[in-house]
């Protein structure tokens, strides 16, 4: 595994935004299917069930062990997906994904807003998710999420 960091944290009113991006060796259409179809999402990010239309309520279980509900706010295939996520304790964030062509490849940019000010551990977590996406697209096995996350945390804390 490389030691490059894929995520950054920037402050916003009352909290922080995590921004993570990478370029994948696949088409925009294929990348869109990997981030929007439950069968494929389950391989690298989350088991998602429920009403997958705009306004519908989702049940989401991330590989990170986070669980909660979601609501699709924007679904503009194959470029733009926005999901609001809510945990049982009431805390809410918004996850936004954008896909754009990058030559023969495709770039994915993910931002999660509404995070606490000290979001460096979240940034490390999103890197694991994007690495797992790369593995899933290449047909490789995904990581043990928490083991890889712990491994990445120190480099993000140094940056913060």
């Amino acid at each position: 595994m490389t030691d490059r960091t894929l995520s950054t944290v920037r402050p916003e009113a009352g909290g922080a935004v995590v921004h993570v991006e990478d370029v994948y060796d696949t088409s925009v259409a294929d990348l869109w299917s990997a981030i929007s179809e439950p069968d494929r999402l389950a391989r690298w990010l989350a088991v998602v069930s429920g009403d997958l239309r705009v306004g519908g309520t989702l049940r989401m279980r991330f590989t990170s062990s986070w669980e909660g509900t979601g609501e699709v706010l924007v679904c503009d295939a194959p470029h733009h997906l926005v999901v609001a996520s809510r945990e049982e304790d009431g805390s809410e964030t918004v996850i936004e994904a954008r896909i754009s062509p990058e030559g023969e490849q495709a770039r994915l940019v993910v931002e999660e807003r509404g995070l606490p000010t000290d979001a460096s551990d979240y940034a490390a977590g999103w890197q694991v998710h994007l690495e797992d996406l790369g593995a899933a697209l290449a047909g490789r096995e995904t990581s043990d999420w928490s083991a890889r996350w712990r491994q990445l945390i120190p480099s993000y804390r140094r940056e913060g």
């Binding site: 991330f62 062990s65 979001a119 977590g125």
Partner: protein, 108 residues
Amino acid sequence: MDGVLQAIGDASRRTVLDALRGGPRTVGELAERLPIARPGVSRHLRVLREAGLVEVEARAQFRVYSIRAEPLAELDRWLDDYRALWGTRLDALHTEIARGKRAPRSTS
């Protein structure tokens, strides 16, 4: 204590609680170890949490569950009075056995 008894009055929830004796676990790890599907594990953990038997530690996206012993200590204190009852009965058994030894029954 009603909530605690209600929570442990279910075999699956006791299984979840038993599994947490070995240390903190995520929902996924519990589901891997137990013959309970993951949504079931989540549901049982919610009941156990509401009864105060389990607590969740949140660190960024990571959620890990562990046992809270306090409600069990309360249950143990309640059982104490009943333990005394058992103690008395066992003492009586010891007395009876001792008596039997001193006066062995004659065999024909």
